[in-house]
Amino acid sequence: MTANVLEMRDVRFAYPGGPALFENLNLEVPSSGHLKCVLGPSGVGKSTILQLAMGELSPESGRVAVDGTFLPVLQNFESMVLRWFTARRNITWGLNGEAQVELDAVAQLLEITDIMNSLPGRLSGGQRQRVVLARALIRRPDVLFLDEPLANLDAGTLRRVLPRLRSFLHEWSVSSLWVTHNLGEALAVADTVCVLHEGGTLHEFPVPTPGGNDDLVRAIEELLR
């Protein structure tokens, strides 16, 4: 495997009939558990990057390469829920019985142990979102494409889950391209934070420690203004 699990080189992309969203987008996600968060204002193309990475959209020019297996957790996570299965079956469907140990670990990590036998229709949006995330996590893909994967969580749960999730992804060597508009969330979880600007220009900031420092926060906030 190469050093990068996702590479986007000189990508130009435009939606049909629209102006170019990206003129020259370059992005890579290193393999073996690197977490890269993409921040940016609405409409700048954060989710489009994920669509391009998943192969759901094709660039006009440039190269998009994923080296390994990937799984998405979309912003529209509701459509990813199998409403006829319990939460447990949603997560484990298609896996063999050996996944049980990992299921327990993922369920504890995401605080969904108590709802495993419930149908999605009886869960809150935040719980359903975590079920979808758990289903992707337990399969240990090489890279996860996450679009606001914890947007529906309350602040308390988010504070508890984020550091554990970061450790977990590092431990399992699952890299992630994580799109969010929440700077606090990005700094808590990411190894690298990218700020996306119109045209596809990216500014990257390594995050040496979870939460970052004041200078880093100021620098990113300045770019987000």
Partner: protein
């Protein structure tokens, strides 16, 4: 029962009571003479006579045999059409070529009144049970095909993307994702088809009668036994209601995730294990 539910139930009963009172007033005061002066008085018997005639019918073994025959034909036709319709819709949903091939034939035949095929069915199957079942299958098949096809074609794109991402293909995709996702539309189509099956079986029995409830009703009309005619017509309606209710109970188990608050967790886990068990 809660107060609003009791009120709703009472209002629904009121609708029945109004019909009963109107019938009885018409029978006793002969309002029908205003519109049709030549009608004999026996044409609108009072409810007591109808009830007695109904009691006589349901206690007669000949009626039981006719009932059994009609219900069996209806269920056989419905079951066969359901199996065929959903299967064809599944193939069409997975093969654009097959979907295109069946498009015009399906559009043509679903517009064709099913009774129009009765002469053809008589020539091919004769006048007995196979003919009645085949006519009902013809009438039921297309609503099921169209409903199931619509449901399967409109499975959420996010769900299909999920299936692709997770590598769910073949039977796992069909039985674990597409069929349950399309279940609401398929169930709606099946509910309509069940009513159509009963209508067509009765119609075929009335037109080319040998046995069945359609024949007994026609015989009542020919012998001017109006109380029995009305009683057996009402009974036929009740059979339709009963079949629909039974179908509704079945749907509660098949479409269990619709949200029945009385279901226990163990029931849900069992039902959840049923869907997609094939893979």
């Amino acid at each position: 029962m809660s107060r609003p539910r009791m009120r709703r139930f009472a209002l629904r009963l009121l609708g029945v009571a109004v019909l009963v009172v109107l019938w009885e007033l018409n029978a006793r005061l002969a309002f029908y003479h205003v519109l049709a002066p030549s009608l004999p008085d026996s044409f609108f018997p009072n409810l007591v006579d109808i009830l007695w005639a109904g009691a006589r019918s349901v206690s007669a073994s000949a009626y039981h045999a006719a009932l059994l025959m009609t219900v069996t034909r209806t269920l056989a036709a419905f079951g066969f059409a359901a199996l065929l319709g959903v299967s064809v819709a599944l193939v069409a949903a997975r093969s654009a070529t097959f979907d295109d091939i069946i498009y015009y034939p399906a559009e043509f035949f679903r517009q064709l009144p099913a009774v129009a095929v009765i002469p053809f069915a008589i020539m091919v199957f004769g006048i007995y049970t196979p003919m009645k079942i085949s006519v009902a299958v013809f009438g039921c098949f297309f609503p099921i095909l169209v409903g199931a096809r619509e449901g399967l074609a409109n499975v959420d794109s996010g769900l299909m993307l999920t299936a692709r991402s997770y590598g769910w293909t073949g039977p796992r995709l069909l039985f674990g994702v597409m069929l349950p996702a399309a279940a609401p539309q398929i169930i709606a189509a099946l509910r309509i088809a069940l009513a159509i099956a009963l209508i067509l079986v009765i119609m075929a029995e009335m037109l080319v009668g040998v046995d069945g409830l359609g024949v007994t009703i026609v015989e009542r009309e020919r012998t001017f036994d109006f109380p029995a005619l009305y009683a057996e017509t009402i009974l036929l309606g009740l059979i339709g209601v009963g079949m629909n209710q039974c179908f509704g109970v079945l749907c509660r188990y098949v479409h269990y995730w619709r949200g029945d608050p009385t279901w226990r967790t163990a029931d849900i886990a069992t039902a959840s294990a049923t869907w997609g068990a094939t893979p």
